[in-house]
Symmetry: D2
Subunit: 333 residues, 4 copies
């Protein structure tokens, strides 16, 4: 049994960490912090978590835990994480602060001066499982990058494609718990909105990880769709050679063989199949007469795209079974 | 470890039984039947259940199990259940066929001649826990009755009210997996539709169970709302005496004390708080100057309103912990 | 041709006034005010209104118009309307400030001290058409009261019922354009929420208008549903005499005969049938064995429930055809 | 005043034709046919059209009209249209039967042997306005092609791009009025589904029209999103030269100058801005460092994507003002 702390526990990813860890046999959550709700019971903010006695703490300044999840905004994590590490805690950071090898890329795309770059492992187990195991600081991937990288990775690794248009559709929970005009129900219901069409911060993150294997020419455009949870990624890839659908599917099947949370499916991936779960479904693989292949991936942005993957990383870091606490299917319908 | 069969496993309640039993440490599903999909892998029909090797069977005529869930339509269960019982299997029936003490009530409201009335226990553990434990046939409650009875029961039991208007709002999954004009997305999205306004079959079921404790004058009207899962029940009760909100809440707290799946909440119950879980949240308790009290309950129609409650009943029948396989919170947002 | 001003034109009811008046042959909008967006083109705030050259004004302090719509919040209208009237403009006020005959009722339910009570006509044409014609100040009804009064009025007028439970379901646009936690997409999508269950401000408004014809014992409870536009009102009425569905329908048909915007329909009213239009559909009329009748009405909260009715009132005030600019059906699907 | 007939009037496009023609000062609908509902009042099927006395006819075999809209499925139109033309009626056909110059393309993509190819004009006024004016048979464009062609046309015409990935998101009403598993509410709510990813029939239609101006290498992939009306088209175009966002916007502004129903907007196009209207909004124009430009267009699939465009074509054919009956903005929110 290890102890865990969650910093920034009142948001959606904080709520998911609490929901999922409730189901984990090896972890006890000893602290959940929230500046805004400090002193209030967790059940007041998270209406589904009625059976916990936890109250929000102001901070973890005087508390210890074996592992800490920092579900804090970009720019806030870098003010907290160094101290946690110095005090001997291991950290999974859910912000963008430690995801970039080149700190300039971070500063350019996030518009924030980085206070203290640290050595961190990019927490996509399908690429970095071994380094994660021994890391003290894991930078949990962004939600779009998780779905996009997993959809493109086998093609890049096998050098089958290098030009990609990634057109993603995300549920609104990805925008966080804070109401904004864009997330106001009458504005986003019955609507689809493209945003940050060429300048989304997740673009360089996707490029960084795919380029480890081969250079890519990659364009990324996200859309907000009237869905609560889930990211459907449609990756349009121009193939370097003539491949059929079944060949592509076999390449993906081989590549992800043994992966506990990636499933190459026969039908078309749908969000409801992974809703609430840590699975990533990948499918489609159709190729048109322009030698464009279409790869579709589906994840739950709050689980495999955030908190579930964070727990998967924790499992790897702590030597637990990688699927502990996460071993359940999605919720359809 | 016991073995379980699911008859009618291709619908939504069948899918939920499979999803939830996957999470149960004491049960192995040995058979899932579907006439329509016989021979096909379960994963083809239930896109979230990718990790099972089960295939749909044509029937259970030549198969055995310790317990069988009949997720079959009204009128179909009565053709199957007697044989299962004779062959020594215990049964939780999810249809309406065995819910009524007075067979004429069933025949009048369902318009079906009952072929073979049998002794069965009405499977609402909050009322019939003891009889369920020893029953061979449990009639799992309807979705609306579960939410409605739990919202009204303490008032009836304590003789605090006898006139009720129950106005319920249900998600569309309650209509089942078969497409109809009413459940066609462009028709039910952005719409609210009252239906079976005075003649819904669940009316006599609610009356039967509440009348065990005191006579009631009860009207019930359901509405279809653009929600996938969940039933929000608004019970308007004319009180016999002058009670305040906090007094009512305490009466409910006392009544449901120790119940594993009923939570009397401080705030207003919301569907997302119980989504995917077996919990029933009850709250509100406001009283207006007409001495009308408003009790609001929230359940997931496919879980506490169907498959979760069926598993809860199985746990009681088999002497397992009542919460085994169901001990997780809802999914919000 | 008359000139019209809209004060508070950047919200949803302001946008609807602009959309609908665009379609009106006898009115020119000469001023649309918004403190927040003063100086900006109307098309920047209302993305559908690309063909207008109007810009938001700071106020109408130095502008004149034949008629002014005050789409301002409760408490704000009373600061503006007296001056407009003194300057000789006629006013349709969309707030609650002038709806109450008894100013104490207003002050008690709105928690606001009324600065300057004025003589006003309650702008429900189905009750007050004649007084509206000659009024200088019309208090446009609330959205819930419009649907609720029209559903109950014939029963009260004919003294067929005096006890009502009104259970209403409203779309989220009724909450206005300002984002709040309650209207945040992930919170209200896939959810149904009861609110102001016994204390909604529209309760005394409904009572006031129905009590003109006979005393009523009336309870009102609204719910927020995941719908953008529309209010479905389910009025549960305990009848004083034994009436059948077809008799009730004929009573309603007779009562509303000749009304340009009330339709007594054969089927069940649905929100999509009136979406975007000024119609109120009324139907159902089922009676159960408790002599409870169910009357269902459907309106678009932004049209018949606000801006469309305001224009209907203007048409009556100005001697135009009552349907001018509003003579088009709803948008289904 | 001319007379119009609608063949296949019980579906969504039929309902839209009726709704929109109700608003048209120069046309009287004299016949609306439906095999399935023959003899029933139109108001029984279209709940919003309560004020028409029209009843569905079995067919137009014995009826005449100046113009006929055939809102019939692919393959059915070709059995009806020749007879209508021979009898001297002009026809706007909403199916795919007459959209292709090369009949083999039709037969290959639709899998239907064409019984009787006829000379027809492709009814996109922005390309073929002059030929439409004198045509007896206009082939109304498909919904996806309308949004896609308008988004790409200026770039092709100006030879600024020749490689396009078109990723479209459509509302569910595009699938028609008939319930299917794909359009069942619990399946498509909260989901996004890619379909006909490389083989959608609208692909050759888009290619045909754009290739009139310059050869294109074009890939098209549609997605079903939980929206009732609307198509958002995201056109990813690889530019042949280095252009900035404002330059692209000016090129589009110039190209569509004077077009009554195309608006090049400053912000991002959203579906609600065109909902229920005949407008196409085009915007975005961002360019990334791969010289990929993103053009976004928004239409209502049932209006500019079907029935509204059909009426626009009729206006041109009959010498009416092109905007007659269509001159109103979209409905937001």
């Amino acid at each position: 049994m290890i102890s865990a702390g969650i910093i920034g526990a009142s948001g959606y990813t904080g709520g998911e960490l609490l929901r999922l860890l409730d189901n984990h046999s090896r972890v006890e959550v000893v602290a959940a912090t929230s500046r805004q709700y400090s002193g209030l019971p967790v059940s007041r903010v998270h209406p589904h978590l009625q059976d916990t006695d936890l109250k929000f703490e102001e901070s973890m300044e005087k508390m210890d835990a074996d592992i800490v999840f920092t579900a804090t905004p970009h720019g806030a994590s870098m003010k907290i994480v160094p101290d946690l590490l110095e005090r001997g805690m291991r950290v999974v950071d859910l912000s963008g602060d430690y995801r970039f090898q080149n700190i300039r890329t971070y500063e350019e795309w996030y518009g924030i001066k980085h206070e203290k770059p640290l050595e961190a492992v990019y927490g996509l187990p399908e690429i970095h499982r071994e380094e994660i195991a021994s890391a003290d600081l894991v930078a949990n991937p962004g939600c779009f990058p998780t779905g996009a990288i997993l959809a493109c990775l086998p093609l890049v690794y096998e050098k089958l494609a290098d030009t990609f248009i990634i057109d993603s559709k995300t549920g609104v929970s990805g925008a966080g718990v804070k109401p904004t005009p864009l997330t106001h129900y009458p504005e986003c219901s019955d609507n689809v909105t493209a945003y940050n069409v060429t300048r989304h911060r997740h673009t360089p993150e996707i490029r960084q990880e795919l380029s480890r294997f081969n250079p890519v020419r990659l364009s990324f455009t996200p859309h907000l769709v009237p869905v609560t949870r889930g990211i459907l990624t449609t990756a349009h890839a121009f193939l370097n050679e003539d491949l059929r659908q079944d060949e592509l599917r076999e390449i993906f099947r081989g590549f992800y063989d043994g992966e506990p949370f990636v499933r190459v499916v026969d039908g078309m991936p749908v969000l409801s199949a992974v809703r609430g779960s840590n699975f990533c479904h990948i499918g489609c693989f159709e190729v048109d007469d322009n030698q464009r292949a279409v790869i579709v991936s589906a994840i739950d942005n709050l689980v495999k795209g955030a908190s579930g993957q964070a727990i998967q990383n924790m499992n790897i870091m702590c030597g637990f079974s990688e699927v502990e606490g996460l071993d359940f299917p999605g919720m359809h319908p």
